[in-house]
């Protein structure tokens, strides 16, 4: 089990730690609900040191990445980034990630902790003989995510010299060693992710907490992202489902002339039409919170349609919410469903994403 460079700080803050993607990470400090609310109303700070960081450089870097990833990085200017996906030949999702362009010949990728090894192996296998260098820098960086509407005022007070980039942008500074700021997040609120050398990240985390950012665990990170309908890799995304089925078509540029790995499969899928879609599901009655793995049935409660890939209580809505891959004829907004929880059936319906 890997330990975050912030491990001892978490313990001193009274965090409850649990395994996540091979890392022992804080799930919560004071409680998921109060941490969730801190991010929606003020500002919270998450340890995301488990995330992976790759750097791709060289004259052919942009072109090579464009043949590997679904989004079109020609849309990026220096200092800009976007959400994109790495697919297998069948169009299944190996990983979803953020790609940032420092310069035309230098890119920064932030990938999921659970997929670092797969991503790196896959990308290495497709590396051209020359012109592109791929480095896994995951071991060098610790990282924190600062999220919430008060992000900008807190950061401007704490570090006025380190100006945040625009939305989805990236900027690197030399302050306490290297520090990279990316204006993204996984909560639907304003915020940024800060990457710094592992021996320096504790310093940043301490300063952020001392400035009023509420320490938040992965529990709140999960409820925050689910309310916004953001998929979690390994739960809502996997190699058996395509980004089109996951409702991520916006980040897939099928019209890229040179194509990308998985492109043909997706073009065929688009032509034939989807058979299933990742639907957002909301309970319609007082019921236990939804959980990953619960069976979703037709409204008559007889025919099983699928399983929840994510589920929780929405702290913002006060009701159970979740997502599931459902046959397209049962995935339209307003479709009545039943969810089986400990052998009892509860009424639910397909709703529009985001939930909140």
């Amino acid at each position: 089990m890997e330990k975050s460079p912030l491990h001892s700080l978490h313990l001193s803050l009274g965090a409850r730690l649990a395994p996540f993607a091979g890392w022992e990470m804080p799930i919560q400090y004071k409680g998921i609900v109060s941490e969730h609310e801190a991010v929606r109303k003020s500002v919270g700070v998450f340890d995301i040191s488990h995330m992976g960081e790759f750097e791709v450089s060289g004259a052919g870097a942009g072109e090579w990445l464009n043949r590997l990833l679904t989004n079109d990085n020609r849309a990026l200017a220096d200092g800009q980034g976007h959400y994109t996906l790495l697919l297998n030949e069948e169009g299944g999702v190996i990983d979803d990630l953020l790609l940032y362009r420092f310069q035309a010949d230098r890119y920064f990728l932030v990938v999921n902790a659970s997929r670092i090894a797969e991503d790196f192996a896959w990308m290495s296998r497709h590396l051209p003989a020359e012109g592109v260098t791929l480095r896994d820098r995951s071991g060098e960086f610790g990282a924190v995510a600062v999220q919430g509407p008060m992000t900008l005022s807190l950061w401007t007070e704490l570090a006025p010299g380190l100006v945040l980039p625009e939305r989805n942008g990236i900027v690197g500074y030399d302050a306490c060693g290297e520090v990279i700021l990316c204006r993204t997040g996984y909560t639907g609120e304003d915020g940024f992710e800060l990457f710094a050398p592992v021996e320096k990240i504790g310093h940043w985390f301490d300063q952020l907490v001392a400035s009023g950012a509420i320490p938040c665990g992965l529990g709140a990170r999960d409820t925050l992202r689910l309310e916004k309908g953001f998929p979690l890799n390994g739960s809502d995304l996997d190699e058996r489902h395509t980004p089109l089925e996951a409702g991520l078509g916006f980040f897939v540029k099928l019209d890229k002339e040179e194509g990308f790995i998985g492109c043909e499969a997706l073009r065929a899928q688009r032509k034939e039409g989807l058979s299933q879609k990742l639907a957002a599901i909301r309970l319609k009655e007082k019921a236990p919170p939804l959980r990953h793995g619960y069976t979703v049935l037709e409204s008559d409660g007889k025919t099983a349609l699928g399983e929840l890939t994510s589920g929780s209580l929405s702290p913002g809505l006060g009701v159970g919410i979740g997502m599931a891959y459902l046959p397209v004829d049962h995935a339209a907004v307003g479709t009545e469903l039943k969810i089986s929880i400990r052998e009892k059936l509860y009424s639910a319906e397909v709703v529009k994403k985001p939930f909140l």
């Binding site: 919560q28 969730h36 570090a159 310093h203 929780s312």
Partner: protein, 165 residues
Amino acid sequence: MPRETRPGRGARRQKALISENRICHETIIRFVEPDSIQSVNAPDHLHFSESHEWVDATAPEAASVGISDHAQEELTDVVYLELPTVGRVVSKGEAFAVIESVKAANDIYSPVSGEIVEVNSDLAESPEAINEDPYGVGWMVKIKLSDPAELDALMTGTSYREHLS
């Protein structure tokens, strides 16, 4: 409740250091004190199980059952409680209820055997009462004991506190 923090002096000093882009100081200034070890709240008139349920057997007709202060603190944010129906007969150690926090669902085990004669239906609307007052309004069921001698195998408040420490 958010922990009290003191951003004043340290934050300004850090700001100055960063804005001047000097080499940053290595000392980590610790404004946030770790939680003081709080003494576990476990009244001595109650009996406690190893799975953190309590029994109040002071009333002659039926014993009240709930979960300990320690258990509610571990769970945090109780959002749902599924209670058994009145009339159900439970054995000691049998799962008779499900308690859910935002993160997970957990079984609650009966610390004693007997018939469930009453359930706290108020908790359906206000499960947070279990967090707020686990030994009072957060009681869950009343059980008519079939074997009062089972109480002797449970812990007193004092021994439960020792068990946790």
